[in-house]
Each structure stands twice: as C-alpha cells, then as structure tokens.
C-alpha cells in the first residue's frame, strides 16, 4: 500500500454501510479518484466537518492495487466555499460543475493536464461562490469546464478546412464537428447553428479572462441567448450523458 498526501476537492460524498462514507475526489496529480472513509460519520477527529461537497481539503490516502478503491485516512479543511450553500443559484451552478467533473474527469490523466484541471476546479468554485450567480456566469463556467476537460470548441476558424472566417456578421456552428464552419464547408450540411461573430468573440474572451476579471465581459441578451444555445448543444453532444443537475440549474437560472 502506498501513502499519498495531497490536496483534493470533494466532488461527491455518499453514505456507505453503518458509518462509512465513499467520496469522489479531484486531486491535482492524477485527476478523479474514489476513496472510502471508514467510520467517517462517527469520527469527529479524523474527518471533522470535511467530507462535504465543494470542500477543498488536504488529505492523506492509502492507495492499493490499481483499480481498487483508495482508503481516506485523514482530511483537513482548507476552504469550504460557504456562500455556495447559502444561495440557491450559486448552489445550482456549483453542483452542475461538480457533476461535470465527476462524470468526465479522467482517473489517471497526464500530470500537467490534471494540475490545470484542479486549478480550474478551485477557480470555478471560487467564482461560483463570489461572482454574481447569473446566466452569464453559468454559461462561462460550462464553457470553461469543457475546455479544462479537453473539449474546447473551435470559435475562430473553419473547423473543417481551417480557413479564417470572413467578415460576415453571422457564421454557422456545427455541433458534431465541434466548431464554426466557413460558407463553403457549411453549404451541404444540415442542423447548423447560426451565431453572431460578436458572440463567438465574447466566448473567446470568456475563455481567456481570469475568473476575477469576468465582470469586464459584456454579453448582451442576444449574445447570451446564442451562447447558452451553443454551449448547451455542444455539451450535450460531446459529453454524451444527461447531467442530472441540469434540470435544477434550468429551474434556478431559466433561459
């Protein structure tokens, strides 16, 4: 058995048997892992108020053979992102983020990618806890989560022939191809999404800005509606699973 000390974010926490808890964690070096915390519901010393959703922890784990569940020995709280529990829209955005990460984060990804993903998870939770919890924040967190998981849509060139998009005010976005298309490539295709170039530029900015500077990003009503449609359809097609938390998110932040 190998012992690991690392930071972690709690993605999911499920009661198991009499007093244990199974937690899904996102860790900086390897991505997602599942661990059992024996006696967690009884112990006030090893896991004091720690194994709760959203929590950023310092943990001590024992890993066994590959594929077996790790054993969580100890956890201390670094940050709890408390406002996520006290505002229903923040809670809805953060639960959606956790579900995306829990379903899509790899279990043994490349170290640099996983570190980037971990940094994104902390920054996105902080943004959900502190920024205005509106439709703009929702769409940007959705988009950036997809990017952090390696599913960034192409927003500047034709995804088929790599041609620069011309000076048109609107272009076509093809969900299955994962990006924008030039007029020639778009011509024979069905099911295209027509979007304003201004919307695409705003989304590109949204991918570039730090979460602390998101307030600078302006998304008017048309750009916001187009962004939600584009990101939503892209996510549903490429993620390929129905996210359970999306229903609640739609209820709390309706279009």
């Amino acid at each position: 058995m190998a012992g690991i000390r690392t930071e972690a974010v709690v993605l999911r926490s499920v009661d198991f048997a009499e007093s244990d808890r199974i937690v899904h964690l996102l860790v900086p070096d390897t991505g997602r892992l599942t661990a059992i915390a024996k006696g967690a519901r009884r112990s006030v010393r090893r896991f004091p108020g720690t194994l709760d959703l959203f929590n950023h922890l310092r943990v001590q784990l024992q890993t066994r053979r590959s594929g077996a569940m790790a054993r969580l020995e100890q956890a201390t709280l670094i940050e709890s992102f408390t406002p996520l529990r006290h505002e229903t829209r923040r809670f809805a955005i953060a639960c959606y983020l956790l579900e995306v990460l829990d379903r899509l984060a790899p279990e043994a990804g490349a170290r640099d990618d996983m570190r980037r993903l971990f940094r994104f998870a902390l920054a996105a939770l902080r943004a959900a806890a502190t920024r205005k919890p509106d439709a703009r924040l929702r769409v940007l967190i959705e988009l950036r989560a997809l990017e952090a998981l390696g599913l960034r849509p192409e927003l500047r060139r034709c995804v088929r022939c790599a041609a620069e998009l011309g000076g048109a005010a609107q272009v076509d976005f093809h969900v299955a191809d994962g990006g924008t298309l030039c007029g020639r490539c778009a011509a024979p295709l069905d099911g295209l999404l027509r979007v304003h170039v201004g919307t695409l530029r705003a989304l590109e900015q949204g991918l570039r800005f730090d979460f602390e500077h998101l307030d600078r990003l302006v998304l008017g009503p048309v750009a916001l509606a187009e962004s939600r449609q584009l990101v939503g359809r892209f996510q549903r097609f490429h993620v390929g699973v129905d996210l359970r938390s999306e229903r609640f998110l739609n209820e709390m932040l309706p279009a």
Binding site: V44, G49, L53, F54, T76, S245, E251
Partner: protein
C-alpha cells in the same frame, strides 16, 4: 458452499438490504435457522406487516401507524411552531432531545441536484401550503448542516419569507465532548459567531 433452496432464497433476500453482504446474509440465515420457532415467526410477522401497517401522516409526513400521527394529534404540543426535518429518523433524533414541543414537517430528503433531487421531489409545496393555511408562528429549519441541507434550508427560507412567518435555523457549533484542536476552522468560526453570554 452449496446450501438448500430455502436458505439460498433467504440469503438472496437479506443481501438486498443496505450494508448486508453475502457473508452477513449467510450468518443471519443460519442464526434464524437455529432460533426458536416463535422468534422466527415474530420477525416474519413484523416484516410482513411493516408495509401494510405503516402510513404517512397527512399533516407532518412522518411514518406512522395512523394518520394524523400521535404527535400531530397531541393537543399539548405547540401547533404554531413547525420544525422542518429531512427524514423521519431526524424527527426521532429531535424528539430524543425533549427540547422541542411543537409539530414537525418531514421533507423526505434534501435538495441534491447531482442525484436529480429538486424542489418538486420534496414536500416543500406542502410546507408552503401549511404556512399559507395560517396558524404557524415559527418555522425552524432543522435540515442537516451539510451542503445539501444548508441549500435546502435557504431555498425554503426564500420561499417562505414573503408569508411573514418567523424563520430560524438550528445553530452551528462545537459538539458536546468535542475538541477544539480537531475541529475545522469553519465550525470554530461559526461557534464564535453564535457564541452566547454566560453569567
């Protein structure tokens, strides 16, 4: 190990219970086989009658043998104070404290978007109806002090605030017999925020 079909049937049934694996189920089955007939019959009757004799209280949604339940029928209890809990087991825990003498409302869970549980899956509309019906002075939100429980309490608070009913949340703080050295900084902070005057 090969066992007879009746034992296999019982082991298969017991294995479906939470926290019971093959080994525990087999041990229980052999224990029952060696137990007096009357004990086995009593257990079998209790299991058989469990579903047919248990109903939901039409007022508080606790599990009971008659609706309204004994707590809702008790004229000595304060009908103007309603304590909101997630599950019947939470109601039983509060009753054990003997500090609350009002009525209850069992939600049937907490908001858990990741598990697909939204407001429509809980008895929040029924709580709103109860408050709208009048006669409620205070609603005490006693959902669990975890992310889902807190979010549920805040959601209910937002829904009930326009009614003007008094709303309170159970306090956060250090558990009795706890140890400051091992407590997380959020709990310690909340204990200080919610400190009480002494003397």
């Amino acid at each position: 190990m090969r066992t007879s079909p009746p034992i296999e049937r019982l082991v298969a049934g017991l294995k479906r219970l939470p926290g019971i694996g093959e080994k525990s189920a087999t041990r229980l089955a052999f224990h029952l086989l060696g137990a007096p007939d009357a004990t086995v019959r009593e257990l079998s009757d209790a299991i058989g009658r469990l579903k047919q004799d248990t109903v939901l209280c039409e007022e508080c949604f606790d599990l009971t043998d008659a609706s309204p339940c004994a707590l809702c029928r008790d004229p000595k209890r304060d009908s103007q104070a309603v304590c909101v809990v997630e599950e019947p087991a939470d109601l039983a825990a509060i009753e054990r404290s003997r500090r609350f003498h009002g009525r209850y409302h069992v939600l049937g869970g907490a908001l858990s978007p990741i598990d697909g549980v939204g407001p429509g899956d809980l008895r929040i509309a029924e709580l709103e109806e109860r408050v709208r019906g009048g006669g409620v002075r205070e609603v005490i939100l006693a959902t669990n002090p975890n992310a889902e429980g807190d979010a549920t309490a805040h959601y209910i608070c937002d829904r009930l605030q326009p009614s003007g009913v008094g709303l309170s949340r159970i306090a956060y703080g250090m558990p009795l017999g706890g140890d400051l050295e091992y407590a997380d900084h959020v709990t310690i902070g909340l204990s200080l925020d919610n400190r009480q005057k002494v003397g």
